[in-house]
C-alpha cells in the first residue's frame, strides 16, 4: 500500500467537503437532530418515571452517541464509494495507479475524521443540554470507540462489496445495513430484554458487547474485559469476512465488467 496515494485520496475528499456546504452541514445535522430527539424523550421518560430510572439519560444518550460513531464510520466508506459512482469518476480512479486497498483505506481515514468531528460536537452538545459527560466513561471510551470503528469499517467494506456486485440497485443498503443489526445489537436496551432467539443473534454482533459494556461502566464503574475480548474477536471475524468479500466481488467485477457498467450505466 502506498501511503502517499492514500493521503492524496483523503485530500480529494477534503476538497469535496470544503467545496460543499451541504456536506459540511450534514456532518452535524443528523447527529444533532438525533441527540435532541433522544435527549428530550429520555428527559420526559425520567420525569414520568419519577426518578425510578436514575441513569436513563446517561444510558440512552451514551448509546446514541456511540451508535453514531459506528454508523458514521460505515457511512464514510460506503458513501465515498457511492459518490464516485454517482459523479461517474470511479473509472478515473481505477484507471489511475491506485490499488483497491489504498482506495478503501482513504475512505476509512476520511470517515474517521468525520467521526471525530461529529463525536466532539455531540459530546459538547450533550453536556450543554443534558449535563451528560461522555468522558465519564473514562479510558473505557477508547476501547469502545476502537471496536465501533472496526465494526464500522467492516460493515462499510461489506456494503461496498455488495454495491459493487449488484450496482446502484443495491445502493439503499448504504443506509440500511447498520439498521439491520441495530435491533439485535442491544444499543438502547440490555440483551436480557430480548427474546432468547434474538439474544443468540445479539451475542454474534460485536457492538452488542460495546453497548453492554458502556452500561456496565456507567452503572458500576467496572470495565468488563470479557466484553472487550468478545467484541474484538468478533470484529476480527467480521473484518476478515468483509475483506474477503470485497476482494471476491472486485474479482467478480473484473470478470464481468461491472466497474465500467457502474460508471457508464
Amino acid at each position: 500500500m502506498n501511503l502517499r496515494r492514500v493521503g492524496i485520496l483523503v485530500l480529494r475528499y477534503a476538497f469535496v467537503y470544503r467545496r460543499s456546504a451541504i456536506r459540511l452541514v450534514e456532518i452535524w445535522f443528523w447527529p444533532t437532530m438525533e441527540l435532541l430527539l433522544w435527549g428530550y424523550v429520555t428527559l420526559f421518560l425520567q420525569r414520568v418515571g419519577e426518578g425510578a430510572l436514575p441513569r436513563l439519560v446517561a444510558f440512552l444518550i451514551g448509546a446514541m452517541i456511540l451508535w453514531d460513531v459506528l454508523y458514521r464510520a460505515q457511512q464514510g466508506i460506503t458513501l465515498s464509494f457511492l459518490e464516485d459512482v454517482w459523479v461517474r469518476n470511479l473509472l478515473n480512479i481505477f484507471c489511475a495507479p491506485v490499488r483497491l486497498s489504498e482506495y478503501i483505506a482513504a475512505t476509512f481515514l476520511f470517515g474517521l475524521a468525520r467521526v471525530g468531528v461529529t463525536l466532539l460536537s455531540l459530546a459538547v452538545l450533550a453536556w450543554v443540554l443534558y449535563r451528560f459527560n461522555l468522558f465519564e466513561l473514562g479510558y473505557a471510551l477508547i476501547p469502545f470507540m476502537a471496536n465501533l470503528l472496526i465494526l464500522g469499517l467492516a460493515l462499510g467494506i461489506i456494503t461496498t462489496a455488495i454495491i459493487l456486485r449488484f450496482g446502484q440497485a443495491a445502493e439503499a443498503l448504504a443506509w440500511a445495513v447498520p439498521f439491520l443489526i441495530q435491533p439485535f445489537a442491544a444499543v438502547f436496551y440490555p440483551v436480557s430484554v430480548l427474546p432468547p432467539v434474538m439474544q443468540v443473534l445479539a451475542r454474534a454482533i460485536p457492538c452488542t458487547y460495546v453497548f453492554e459494556g458502556m452500561r456496565e461502566v456507567l452503572r458500576t464503574g467496572t470495565f468488563r474485559w470479557d466484553h472487550f475480548g468478545w467484541a474484538l474477536g468478533l470484529n476480527a471475524l467480521y473484518l476478515a469476512f468483509g475483506i474477503w468479500l470485497l476482494v471476491r466481488m472486485f474479482d467478480l467485477a473484473r470478470e464481468r465488467g461491472l466497474l465500467g457498467r457502474l460508471t457508464l450505466q
Binding site: 480529494r12 469535496v16 459523479v87 461517474r88 484507471c95 489511475a96 470478470e255 457508464l264
Partner: protein
C-alpha cells in the same frame, strides 16, 4: 512490421466471454510509439470492452496484453502510471475546480512539479481561463477538454481515448484533432482511439481496426481501407460492415 523496441501495446489472441456471449474474439494487434490507431465498430462491436481489458478493468477469458513489454495482469499499477485514459462517459467530481481536479490527478500519478504541469496542460487545451471554474458548471465541450487535460497530465506514453470529440462542436473538435496530432508528433505518444466520427478517424489515425461482433475484420491505413472496400468514405465502409457479412469475406480474402 513494427520494430520490437517500438511496440508500446501488444494484444495477442485476446478473448472475452460474458455468459457465453463472445464480446471480444481472438483480437490481436500492436501499437507502436507515436502511432495513432483507430478502433472502429458499431455499438456492441466490442470497442469499450477492448479498452477496459487493456486498462485491466476487465479480466480476459484468454489471450495476453502486454504494455511497455510487461503483462498487464502482473504489472498493472506500474503500467497505469505510464499511460492514461479519457472517455466521454467518465467525469470528474463536479464540486471541485478544474485546477483542483487536475492537481489531484497529477499527485496520484506522482507527476513532478504538479503545479507547472497543470498550467501546461491547461494552456495546451486552451482552457487556462477555466482553471478556477467548478467542473460541474462547464459545458460538455469544456468538460471534454478538461478530461483530455486529465488524460495528458502524466505525459503518458500510451493514451486510450474513448470518443474524445463526441460532444464537441466542429470548431473545437477540429482543434482537438489538431492537438492530438501535434502531441503525437512532438511527444511520440501511442494512442488507441475509438470514435463514431469518421472524420476524426480519417484525420487523426494512422491505422484503423474495424471490429465486428468482437473480431477484427479489417485493418489498414484509412486509404488502404477505402481502396480495399472500393468506397469513397469511411462512413460507407462503417455502414457496410455494420449491416452485412459480405465484408468479413472481403477481409479474409486480403
Amino acid at each position: 512490421m513494427h520494430r520490437c523496441e517500438d511496440v508500446v501495446l501488444h494484444v495477442h489472441e485476446l478473448t472475452k466471454v460474458f455468459n457465453e456471449i463472445v464480446a471480444v474474439d481472438r483480437v490481436s494487434f500492436s501499437i507502436s510509439r507515436g502511432e495513432i490507431v483507430g478502433l472502429l465498430g458499431a455499438n456492441g462491436a466490442g470497442k469499450t470492452t477492448t479498452l477496459q481489458l487493456i486498462l485491466g478493468l476487465i479480466r480476459p477469458t484468454s489471450g495476453r496484453i502486454e504494455i511497455f513489454g510487461k503483462d498487464v495482469e502482473r504489472h498493472r499499477i506500474e503500467i497505469l502510471s505510464r499511460m492514461n485514459f479519457s472517455s466521454v462517459g467518465v467525469n470528474l467530481p463536479p464540486n471541485l475546480t478544474v485546477w483542483e481536479n487536475l492537481w489531484l490527478f497529477a499527485q496520484l500519478y506522482a507527476v513532478p512539479r504538479a503545479d507547472e504541469r497543470v498550467a501546461e496542460v491547461l494552456e495546451l487545451l486552451e482552457i487556462a481561463h477555466l482553471r478556477d471554474a467548478r467542473t460541474g458548471r462547464l459545458s460538455s465541450g469544456e468538460m471534454t477538454r478538461v478530461n483530455l487535460c486529465k488524460a495528458l497530465i502524466n505525459d503518458p506514453e500510451l493514451l486510450l481515448l474513448d470518443e474524445p470529440t463526441a460532444s464537441l462542436d466542429p470548431n473545437i473538435a477540429d482543434k482537438v484533432r489538431r492537438l492530438l496530432r501535434r502531441i503525437q508528433r512532438e511527444r511520440q505518444i501511442a494512442m488507441l482511439y475509438t470514435s463514431h466520427n469518421m472524420r476524426d478517424i480519417e484525420e487523426v489515425c494512422d491505422r484503423i481496426l474495424f471490429l465486428h461482433h468482437g473480431r477484427i475484420i479489417a485493418e489498414g491505413s484509412p486509404q488502404e481501407i477505402l481502396d480495399h472496400f472500393r468506397t469513397r468514405t469511411l462512413e460507407e465502409v462503417f455502414i457496410r460492415i455494420a449491416r452485412s457479412g459480405e465484408i468479413l469475406v472481403g477481409h479474409e480474402e486480403r
